[in-house]
Structure formats: C-alpha cells, structure tokens
Symmetry: C2
Subunit: 306 residues, 2 copies
C-alpha cells in the first residue's frame, strides 16, 4: 500500500492521478514549475501544495517525455520519494534519453497509463480517467520489489489494469495504436483546414471521428512523436506504401474511364484490365481496413470479415 | 406535399427514408431486386411491398452510385413516379455515368443525404437518421419545379436541411469531408489488422475513433470511391505530400539523434540544424491539424488556434 505520494507535473495526467489517489485516501503533494497549474490542480482537489516533510511512498513524474530523465534524476537526488514512476508515452531508455542521466534504477519503474483526452491541462483532469484502462509498466532486472509494488498499488487505486511490457515492445505498440493514428488524424485534419465553409457544412460524424484526436496539444505531441521517431516512422512508411498504391489505383480509374464504367463491380463491361486491377486494389485495401476495424471492435470474432 | 412515394433499393438509406416518410403519413412502396431485403424493410415499417396502382409523387432511387443511371432510366421508362431523386454520394453526370443513359432530366433532381452508419442494410435503418443533417440537392436548368418541390417536401419530412449545390462542387466537397477520411481510416485500420493481441490491448478511444468508419461495407465504398476517383485522388495526392514530408522529418530525427536530444523544444541543446528543422516540420503539421480540427469542431471561433 501507499499512504503518501507526490505528483510532479500537474497537467491532465498528473492532476488526474492526484485526483484518483486523493479520493482513495492517499496524501498527495503537488509540484509543478508552473505554479498556476499546480494551484488549479490543488483547487480541484488533486492534493496539497505543501512540500512533504519526509520522503513520500511514490513520486509520479508526469512531465513530457523529453523532460522525464532530468526531472527524475533531480527528484531522486533530493530524496523526494522511496519509489518513482513516470507516465511518458514512450518507455525505452533511448526514447527517454536515460543515457545522459544518472537515473537510480532500483527505485524506478517506467509507466504509461493508456488514457488521455484531446483536452489538456489540470482543468481537463478527471479522477475516473484511468478506470478500466491499461496502465503499462516496464520494470527491469534492477527494479526493487518495493518500487514495483508501490506503482502497482497506485495503478490499482486509480482503477486501471496493470500490463507489464518490455520497453521497446511498448514503444513499437504505441507507435501503431496511438502515435501513428494521431498523425493520421492530423494529416486529414490539416486538409480540412483549407476547406470552404460550404464544404465544411457537409462534414459528418465519420470525418469528425477520424480527426477528433488532432485537437490534442501540438507541443506535447511534437515531443511524443520525436521521442518515438523510429517506431512511428516505420508505421508511417507502411502507410505511405498503401497510400501510394491507392493513389495509383485512383489515377488508373480516372484515366481509364473505370469511374464511368458498367453497372456491376467485377462484371467487365468494356473496362480494361488496368481498371479491373485498380478496382480490385481499392477493394482489397478496404477489406484489409475492415479486418483491422474488426480486430479492434470485435476482438472476440473470427478474423477475416471480408 | 407528397402523399405517395416509392423507395427503390432497401439498404440503410432507402429503408431509413421509407421509415421517415411512412412515419409522416406518406404511402411508401418498397422495391428491391433482393426480395429478402425488401421484406425486412417492410417488416420494420418502411412501407408496403405492394406495387403502386398509379405513378407515385416521388421515387427515391437508393442504389449504389454505379447503378443509379440504369435504375433511374428503367423506372422512368415504366412511369413509376412523377418525380425522381437518388441518394448517391456522387452527383456529377460523369460520376453517375449519365452519358450512356437516356435520363429524363426535368423529372429528376440529384440528392445526397449526408447521413450514414458504419452498419449497412435495412436492419441498421432508423427513421431519425436524417434529422438535422444536410441533404444536398443538385437541380439543373432543366429541372421542373414539380420535381424540385417533391424532393424538398421529402427532405423536410425526413427532418433534414436541404442544401443546393452544383454537382461538381458537391463531388469535390465530399471527396474531402467524406471519401478521403474513409480511406484514411481504412489505411490506418489496415495497419492495425497486423497487430498482436498484446498491442491491440493498448488501443484507446483515440485510435478507435480514427478507424471507426473503416467498418463500412467494402463493396459499397469501392463503388463510391470509384465513382469519385478524380476528386478523391486529388485529396490523396495532397495527403501523400504531407505524409512524405512527415516521414522524412521522422527519419531525420531518428538518424540525427534528435529523438534523444535536450530537454526543451526549440532550445538547441547540441542538436543539429537538420534536427531542429525536422522538429519544426512535425510541429507545423500538428498545428495545421489542430487548425483543421478547430474549423470542424469550433467553426464559430476565430481561425489560427496554434
């Protein structure tokens, strides 16, 4: 169990953690270089602005990925806590730039709660943010059981589900299920930014959902993407290949008259082989898309929905 | 006003139209080459399977885009209705392949209700599907006032908002706000289809929203994309340019060590100019994405959220 905690960084995730832990009776101390953010978090009930009189059971370092190593070493140096975790959305030592910092490994367990919002800051925080969500932990061979159990207790108090992963596997996974989708949403949203008012008036729930996460904080997301550049770049490379094939197929349909062809898909009807191949290519991408959709939305069903 | 109507094609849109019109007291006749679909629609209360004894006031041709011209000419030839509309998601004569068919123009008004679902078929239909949604109409110089007013009455009975547009402008608009977002969702979903169960377990609401529409019917969407190949291709070309620039920036960050650089964005800290430029490029895309998000989600606010 933990009785005292510190939250360093009172943004959305830090403040939500403070709210969740405070609600369960943990004495939470809030620290933030931005004093106004810390005051908002305290006013919302996430904890106290008073510094702890003795080392707390657990410090949650809730700062952007590129800041974690430096802040962690600083707080370990001043003895803020017995155990430490962070909430950065990348977890490998490379991504977190641990090489240049003397991190004390036994007292640290990397963490990443898989929860968020397109809104940011302490105002957007909610005690329920983590309920039922995965919270990835990346203990290493040097991690003490005190540190691991302290973090597991905090995750349980937040109502989240702990998932232990190897740091590099985590970073590849979130590149695919979080960082690349964020960039795809931003790419599409960027195109809509150029649209006329009349065109935007036709926007439906479909496009709104596709771009929703693009409302997230550009500064935070620049930091996240930069920290996971290699893994995200690999996913984008695969996406670019599929996009290129799709664009080529549409070009073929446009120039071969496939777009104004016969009435039934696949029935020939005077279209050329190029056009048939292009149609098959579009359809194959859409079928793969639906299989991916089903893997996420209907994980219990058998694969192969096409 | 209209007192009688026919719905040709009892999929999601046709059946929803039938439900909405029937609820408002219109006598609706249902026609579908797939008799079982028509029976489901009738059982749900969308109309009767009895053929009309005399021409109805309005026939709604609710078949896929590549089928519209042929079905429209067939039904005009047998005198099904006094006026005709369709619900295809493309509207130019080229996209609908009108060139090869003797469409009677005065009695026809092109239509496109901007409503849908990732589910399809008469089972997914709802009378409320169109409430408050834009319903694009594309009358031409030959359109009779009888036809235009018949369609306007039907749109009003469905609770939708009529929007008159020029057909080519409509097709370019929906390429941007509907067809390209659908393909972007499918491209991202296709990548998730290859993921392990552990990775998929980390998928949050953000990625779920990005890919939601990829659950749509691949056959219908192949037809839609094919019919609007040129306009969709232009949007994808722009997307591909941005994606390429983004992938290049990530590659630069990865190889220049920008990913493990200093602690503050834009502070230099030993990174090279290449890396700074790459970071600026990522950030610029995310800022443009947020501007596009704001144009859709906060249309009343001033532009430039970055």
């Amino acid at each position: 169990m933990i009785r005292t905690a510190a939250v360093v960084g009172t943004g959305l995730i830090g403040t939500s953690t403070g709210l969740a832990l405070s609600r369960r009776g943990v004495q939470v101390h809030l620290l933030d270089a931005d004093e106004s953010a810390a005051r908002v978090a305290a006013a919302r009930g996430a904890g106290t602005l008073e510094p702890p009189a003795a080392p707390v059971d657990l410090a949650v370092i809730a700062v952007p990925p590129t800041r974690v190593a430096q802040v962690l070493v600083e707080q370990q140096g001043r003895g803020l806590a017995r155990s430490y975790t962070d909430v950065a959305s990348v977890k490998s030592a490379t991504a977190l730039a641990f090489a240049g910092h003397a991190v004390h490994r036994p007292s640290y367990v990397g963490g990443h709660p898989m929860a968020g919002s397109e809104r940011s800051g302490p105002q957007a925080a909610r005690a329920e943010l983590f309920e039922g969500r995965p919270w990835v932990l990346t203990p290493g061979p040097e991690t003490s059981s005190t540190a691991l159990n302290g973090v597991l207790a905090a995750v349980a108090l937040c109502g989240a589900v702990p998932v232990v992963m190897e740091p590099n596997a985590h970073d590849r996974a979130v590149a695919l299920v979080s960082h690349a989708p964020h960039l795809v949403a931003a790419l599409m949203a960027a195109r809509l930014g150029d649209a006329s008012r009349e065109t935007l008036g036709l926007t439906g729930q479909g496009a709104r959902d596709v771009i929703r996460v693009a409302g997230g904080d550009p500064t935070l997301w620049t930091d996240i993407i930069r920290s996971n550049a290699q893994a995200v770049g690999e996913v984008l490379g695969e996406l670019a290949k599929d996009l290129e094939a799709l664009a080529q197929a549409l070009h073929t349909l446009e120039t071969s008259g496939g777009a104004v062809g016969g009435s039934d898909l696949g029935s020939g009807g005077g279209r050329g082989a190029d056009s048939e191949g292009a149609l098959a290519s579009v359809r194959e991408l859409l079928l793969r898309g639906r299989d991916g959709w089903a893997a996420v939305y209907e994980p219990g069903a058998a694969s192969g929905t096409g």
